[in-house]
């Protein structure tokens, strides 16, 4: 390569005049002593060290603040409050009407309320625990000596309403795997509530009432049956079953919602029925527990209040027109 002659060469001289320069970077301190010395030496003029301490301080402040916020918001949350044992309130507050059917046993066995833990639904259990509804949820047991049936009831004098015992509703166990079916309520088909007159107050674990006291509507048992099927279908994650009692339901959305659940359990504690001609409004309070397919597999709480609108159709009987849950 021909070098262009220039003054620059003269200025520069030879490249040998330029000794290679090296940036000598000191090795890291490797032992505690040197680190301590380094800290002492550099504390005053080390911006980095100061910023590190400042950063740690800010960090601790933030974490501490977050912790305070966390604890401060642990105040009782209305949504966390365990469901009130509505059934027992009703027993206390409502005047007892002479039931059409009463057990012949004169004295109630017990009248205690066992409060379940938060989030565990409370299911009322009468001393007449005969008909096991499903999954051990509700048991109406009658004394062996107690005759049943209309005759017996008619023979019995009017008695106080049976005492109500609240027992925890055992949650379905978490399945070991996704493939294992969840033992939800649907595992045992809920018998269609045979509407004896006594179920005016107790039916399938649900207290039924009317917005007009003393005015029991003869349609109430049929409405109970519809809502029982609604509950059963939801517990079974059975879209078809829901559609049978609620034709207007968005099946596609419901199917998608049910696909996200490994199991669901719906319980109504109490329902208030208001029948006006061929239409009825039902307000229910209860609890829903579900186990999601994705995420935390422990049971979580779902809707606890329902408002149903039903109408009676000549062929199909009572059907749900609309249901809102919250």
């Amino acid at each position: 390569m021909a070098h262009p002659p220039s003054e620059h060469d003269a200025d520069r001289g030879s490249v040998d005049d330029f000794a290679p320069e090296r940036a000598v970077v000191q090795p890291r301190h490797t032992d505690l002593e040197s680190v301590v010395l380094w800290l002492a030496d550099r504390w005053r003029d080390s911006k980095r060290l100061r910023s590190s301490f400042a950063g740690t301080f800010v960090l601790l402040l933030i974490v501490g603040g977050a912790g305070l916020v966390w604890w401060s918001i642990q105040s009782p949350d209305p949504s966390d409050t365990p469901p009130e044992p509505l059934a027992s309130f009703r027993v206390k507050d409502q005047p007892i009407e002479p039931p059409a059917i009463v057990p012949s046993v004169a004295s109630p066995v017990s009248n205690r309320a066992v409060l379940a833990g938060r989030g565990v639904p409370l299911i009322e259990k009468s001393q007449s625990e005969n008909a096991v509804s499903s999954a051990g949820k509700v048991a109406e047991r009658q004394s062996p000596a107690a005759p049943s049936g209309p005759d017996a009831s008619q023979a019995s004098p009017p008695m106080p309403r049976p005492a109500i015992e609240l027992v925890p509703n055992p949650l379905p166990p978490t399945p070991a795997s996704e493939d294992e079916p969840l033992p939800v309520r649907a595992a045992v088909p809920e018998p269609v509530p045979a509407p004896p007159a006594a179920s005016r107050s107790l039916n399938g674990g649900t207290t039924w009432g009317s917005s007009r006291p003393g005015a029991e509507d003869p349609e109430t048992p049929a409405i109970q049956e519809v809502l029982g099927r609604y509950r059963t279908a939801y517990a079974a994650l059975d879209v078809g079953g829901v559609h049978q009692v609620w034709p207007a339901v968005n099946q596609r959305s419901l199917e998608r919602a049910f696909r996200q659940l490994a199991g669901q359990d719906v319980s109504f504690f109490s329902c208030t029925v208001d029948v006006i001609g061929p239409r009825a409004d039902v307000a229910c309070v209860g609890t829903t527990n579900f186990i999601p397919k994705v995420g935390n597999r422990s049971p979580q709480s779902g809707p606890s209040q329902w408002n149903f609108k039903l109408s009676k159709r000549s062929a199909a009987g009572w059907l749900i027109d609309d249901a809102q849950a919250r």
Binding site: E7, A257, P303
Partner: protein, 399 residues
């Protein structure tokens, strides 16, 4: 929220606090007597070519150094801190009478989505990203072709100093997100950064190469902490509009390229639309900073390929106002006729960066989420690597 969830939450919070403290106090002294910036400055400063204007050499080296330092800071500021906890949240659908997942997918990486975690729901994550930069403003950093200073005679280069730089950043980020209310989230990202720099300067004079200098430095420590708030203004399901505020606290050491050195605030506007398994998300932000204001934008598509798997694709852009770029300036030699000196320097001008991100979020078990993504720049500006991998674990509780 059950008492078990509360216990879990407290335990996790305490664990996070302990981790933060451990990280916080275990910051290793950054290598040495010379900071990373000083070593970078040394490598970029000409000491061989007789330019006749040492001050200008120094200024050019300083401008180049500052530009590279800013590039590194901006790269470190691009962290995936989006929360995934919405994918584990269930909400009551009053019309259906049952619960549904708040979102079928686990959300995005860099672009925010409007969905908030929900009251008392929290999550934390630990992510790791390692980046080895290959190019700077389109010029190769590692093959020795980056000319820092050159001399030409009548347009023909006869002496040139080239710099080789090997810049690597390893960022471990601890993230946390907590739903103060159903609509308000508080998020925190605490990066721990390791920056290593190795370089050498070679002078090539009339075809002959002469090794001039080498230098290396590394530093580890806390980076700039990011705190953010997100408020869901309106939303239906996982779709909706949110606004947010993000602030960066200059806890990282600027002299060792661990942080930007300034506070910054960024209001954000976030919109999401989700239908069944597909979600579209977009965000705009404007970062107010002492040195560089930045317009940020992002768009993301999330697809729930399976209930436990979300595939994410994102475009994430930044327009830096005055971030700068590297350029070469040529000036005549003050004393030698026909000789000109070319210097690498940094100039302030608006710079655009656009990143492509693709990745997967996989719900391994419970509420544990493994996320993995790769990032690649679609633009030449700034520091660029090839495909940059990021791996993170997230855990949500209170769901």
């Amino acid at each position: 929220m059950s008492s078990r969830s509360r216990r879990q939450g407290r335990t996790a919070l305490m664990a996070a606090s302990v981790m933060c403290m451990l990280f916080g106090v275990s910051i290793v002294p950054a290598a040495a007597q010379q900071t990373t910036v000083e070593v970078l400055s040394f490598l970029l400063t000409n000491r061989t070519i007789i330019t006749g204007d040492f001050d200008r050499d120094t200024q050019a080296a300083a401008a180049t150094r500052d530009t590279i330092a800013t590039f590194v800071a901006q790269e470190l500021a691009t962290l995936p801190v989006s929360s995934s906890s919405g994918g584990f949240a269930y909400r009551i659908d009053s019309d259906l009478g049952t619960v549904i997942r708040a979102s079928d997918n686990f959300g995005t990486f860099y672009t925010e989505r409007s969905l908030t975690a929900g009251r008392h729901r929290a999550s934390f994550g630990l992510g790791f990203q390692s980046t080895l930069y290959n190019t700077i403003d389109g010029q190769d950093l590692r093959d020795g072709t980056l000319v820092s200073t050159a001399a030409t005679l009548n347009g023909q280069q006869f002496d040139a100093e080239t710099v080789t730089l090997r810049i690597r950043t390893d960022v471990t980020t601890l993230t946390g997100n907590y739903g103060l209310t159903d609509r308000l989230d508080l998020g925190l990202a605490i990066p721990f950064v390791h920056v290593s720099l190795q370089g050498e300067r070679v002078d090539t004079y009339r075809g002959q190469s002469f090794f001039q200098a080498t230098g290396s430095a590394s530093a580890s420590g806390l980076g700039d902490i990011v705190a953010r708030l997100k408020y869901n203004v309106v939303g239906t399901g996982a779709s909706g509009v949110s606004i947010g505020l993000e602030t960066r606290i200059p806890t990282g050491d600027e002299d060792n390229l661990l942080g930007a050195g300034d506070f910054s605030f960024a209001p954000r506007f976030i919109a999401s639309f989700e239908r069944n398994t597909v979600g579209l998300h977009g965000e705009m932000s404007y970062t107010l900073n002492t040195d560089t204001n930045t317009l940020g934008y992002g768009a993301a598509v999330t697809v729930a390929a399976a209930p436990r798997v979300t595939v994410v694709g994102e475009l994430f852009g930044r327009r830096y106002d005055g971030l700068g770029r590297l350029t070469s300036t040529t000036l005549p030699h003050p004393r030698l006729a026909g000789v000109a000196t070319t210097r690498l320097t940094g100039v302030e001008e608006t710079t655009d960066r656009l990143l492509l991100i693709a990745g997967v979020k996989w719900n391994v078990t419970g509420t544990w989420l493994l996320t993995a993504n790769v990032l690649r720049s679609l633009t030449d500006s700034g520091l660029n690597a090839g495909w940059v991998p990021t791996v993170a674990f997230d855990y949500s509780f209170g769901s």
